[in-house]
Amino acid sequence: MTQATRNILIVGVGGQGTLMTSRILARVAVNMGYDVKATEVHGMAQRGGSVISEVRYGEKIYSPVIKKGDVDVLLAFEKLEAARWIPYLKPGGKVIINDVRVDPLPVMTGKAKYPDDIAQHIAELVPDTTIVDATDMAAECGSAKAANVVLVGMLAGALGIPGDEVEKAVAEMVPAKALETNIKAYRRGVELCK
């Protein structure tokens, strides 16, 4: 097994499910036999602030923290958070943006402006950018609640992870009655980023 180290940065807003996603990815990488390290920010940041988690896998991983400028795939659950972490992207890296806007406090109170075209602006700067409305897509598959699974699918597609590995992990984490919808949502995600 030879595999260059893959560095994945997952960002969003507290409560969006970024941690769940990074844990699925880390578990899948372990099941595939890789060395894996992951790190996440707890505490103060959970209260509606920015949240980030980092997952690294490959033959041998030392640092759980990704070096700035070394991110292979940036998965953003929210547009503004994508922008915040663009400087961490590797030249030629991939960005996946969930087309969701969550106003931070300074915007809600009118002290700052939300850059409306931020996703398109990122796409202009980073050639390998995919923008998706995961909630819409999940709704098409049967339930808007499966939005995060669409994003997991996109991540798996971008990283070239074999589908059955992730589907096993998804099956372990969602209730049985929601499984079919989730697998459908997952596969739609994979298709988007193949």
């Binding site: 992951a38 790190t39 505490g43 920015s50 070096k67 700035k68 939300y114």
Partner: protein, 580 residues
């Protein structure tokens, strides 16, 4: 099969494998998950203690009783537990005891970034520092052996990045471990001066033995590489170093107090240039310099904040980062904020409009200090609000006392606010203390505490009665109010502030994340009436935002849980209920 574990899970597993049967902690980021994980292992008595001092005393008692025991706390928690800790170093142990100190370089969730390796030197304790989850488990296990072999508690010093990073762990066996025999030994355990004097001699002898042990322990090792550069490092920084400079010679220290002087001398003699990589204070570097060895460290790196792989690359390899795409947009920050429906919001909004000085404390509610609520004057340490409020009122007099309050959470009050309240009554203060009782320790992830009436395992226990406690202390005026009923809340605060006697207001409502009430009504802003005064916006709630185009407020139905605060603050009745 190896398992993915966080550093804290690794510590818990290591303690379990070492045969720990008693574990105690007060929750504190980044240490909380050590004991919450231990509570899930069969045969381990675990508890949330009222504070870190009690937690350590429980672990110490268990050790005296012959059990292997553990106390875990964040770095500032060790300050609270420092009194027992220093003398525990004198008494030594019976069953092995490990004290976990989880430091927070970068202050992700703390009020300072003190380096607790200093406690190792100060209290004369061995300090063990792992660098990943496997080592967290293995070193914890070994720390118990060290504790019993050298008859002393051992400090396991970890940092946020280690606690909250996951890596693969090979689990070990769990041998049967009977209790050590308990024999009364007052000369060892009763620290009267007559006994403490010979114990200090024993402590110094132990330190000498530990210095010898440091030269041989598997915790310290050399990885020879290119000898033009030799790096001495410890903890998570070792991993950052290996990531960017795996070819250099490395002396990796797992035991950082006491240091292996001879090993370091030999290492330094065989490398052209010697650099110490350690986050925060130059604890290792200063000792090496004192031995007359040329070494670099804090002249290259700051003692402020976390290290990172790119920082090491920049300082030691002169490498610059590849050019990143430059965004042509301003990216507004995303600060943390109180949740929609948070019971604290009503209190801080009321205090802000009343223009009183708010002497604050530590918890979620410290977010009340941030704009737009902007309603806190001071916040220093756990329980400080009450003593601080008495002090500021004694300094500035009665008039000031009528315009200032202490604000403290339920868990924080139990942690170390009670003695402050006793002081107010005893020394005839007139402070008004508001206890924000949300029935949990919310900030660290909803841990139980004595006033929730549930243990760490969720079992029902006798509930601490806050009103009865305050009454017993001698508080004559105790009011319980719902913090979402703003008129009553304001009137109560006003009444109690005017009283020339101490009073306690318990603002009681469970954390909105804990008790999710069904959304009963839906609100909307009547844009004909809304005049854009922004009083509702100043609540700082994600349920309502400012609509710049129309200069009015607007609801975010996805976030609003209809707690009913904003209709109460609107002076123009512009917030209306959607009729079904």
């Amino acid at each position: 099969m190896k398992q993915l574990m966080s550093g804290n899970e690794g510590i818990a597993r290591g303690a379990y494998e070492a045969g720990v049967t008693v574990a105690a902690a007060y929750p504190g980021t980044p240490s909380t998950e050590v004991v919450s994980n231990l509570a899930d292992y069969a045969g381990v008595y675990s508890e949330w203690s009222p504070n870190e001092k009690v937690a350590l005393e429980v672990a110490m008692g268990a050790s005296f009783g012959g059990a292997r025991s553990l106390a875990a706390m964040k770095h500032v928690g060790v300050n609270v537990a420092a009194d027992p800790l220093f003398t525990f170093a004198y008494t030594g142990v019976n069953g092995g005891c490990v004290v976990v100190s989880a430091d927070d370089p970068g202050m992700h969730s703390s009020q300072n970034e003190q380096d607790n390796r200093g406690y190792g030197i100060f209290a004369k304790l061995p300090v063990v520092e792992p660098s990943d989850s496997q080592e967290a488990k293995d070193f914890t296990r070994l720390a118990f052996d060290i504790s019993e072999r050298f008859d002393c508690p051992v400090m396991l010093r970890v940092t946020t990045r280690l606690c909250h990073s996951q890596s693969l762990v090979e689990l070990g066996d769990v041998p049967e471990r009977p209790l050590m025999e308990y024999k009364k030994n007052s000369q060892k355990y009763v620290m009267l001066p007559v006994n403490a004097r010979p114990r200090h001699v024993a402590v110094e002898k132990r330190m000498a033995e530990l210095r010898e042990y440091a030269e041989q322990t598997p915790l310290n090792r050399i990885e020879w590489g290119d000898r033009r550069l030799g790096i001495i490092t410890t903890g998570i920084v070792y991993q950052y170093l290996k990531e960017v400079m795996s070819e250099v010679s490395i002396l990796k220290l797992g035991l950082t107090n006491p240091l292996p002087e001879q090993m370091i001398r030999d290492f330094s003699a065989q490398v052209e240039r010697l650099v110490v990589l350690e986050e925060l204070e130059p604890v290792i570097e200063t000792q090496i310099k004192a031995w007359g060895i040329a070494v670099e460290g804090k002249d290259l790196f700051s003692n402020i904040g976390e290290y990172s792989p790119e920082l090491i690359e920049a300082r030691l390899l002169d490498k610059t980062l590849p050019a990143a795409p430059v965004l042509q947009r301003d990216i507004p920050p995303r600060p943390p904020l109180l949740c929609p429906g948070c019971p604290h919001r009503g209190v801080f909004n009321t205090l802000r409009t009343m223009r009183v000085a708010v002497i604050g404390d530590i918890g979620c509610y410290t977010l009340g200090a941030l704009p737009p609520l902007d309603a806190m004057d001071t916040m220093v340490d756990m329980g400080a609000s009450i003593g601080n409020a008495l002090g500021i009122q004694k300094a500035r007099g009665e008039e000031f006392a009528r315009r200032s309050v202490a604000v403290i959470g339920d868990s924080t009050f139990i942690h170390s606010g009670i003695t402050g309240l006793i002081d107010i009554v005893y020394n005839q203060g007139q402070t008004t203390v508001i206890i924000l009782d949300n029935d949990t320790t919310a900030m660290t992830g909803h841990q139980e505490h004595p006033a929730t009436g549930r243990t760490i395992k969720g079992e029902t226990t006798r509930r601490l009665d806050l009103e009865a406690l305050c009454r017993a202390i001698g508080i004559q005026h105790i009011q319980v109010v719902d913090p979402l009923q703003l008129d009553l809340l304001k009137q109560t605060i006003k009444t109690e502030l005017e009283r020339p006697e101490p009073s306690v207001i318990i603002a009681r409502r469970p954390c909105a994340l804990l008790v999710k009430e069904p959304v009963r009504v839906r609100y909307y802003v009547d844009e004909e009436i809304c005049n854009g005064c922004r009083l509702c916006i100043r609540l700082g709630c994600t349920g309502i935002h400012w609509k710049e185009e129309d200069k009015v407020a607007q609801f975010n139905p996805d976030n609003c849980i209809s707690c009913g605060l904003c209709p109460q603050v609107c002076k123009f009745d512009a917030i209306k209920t959607v009729e079904e």
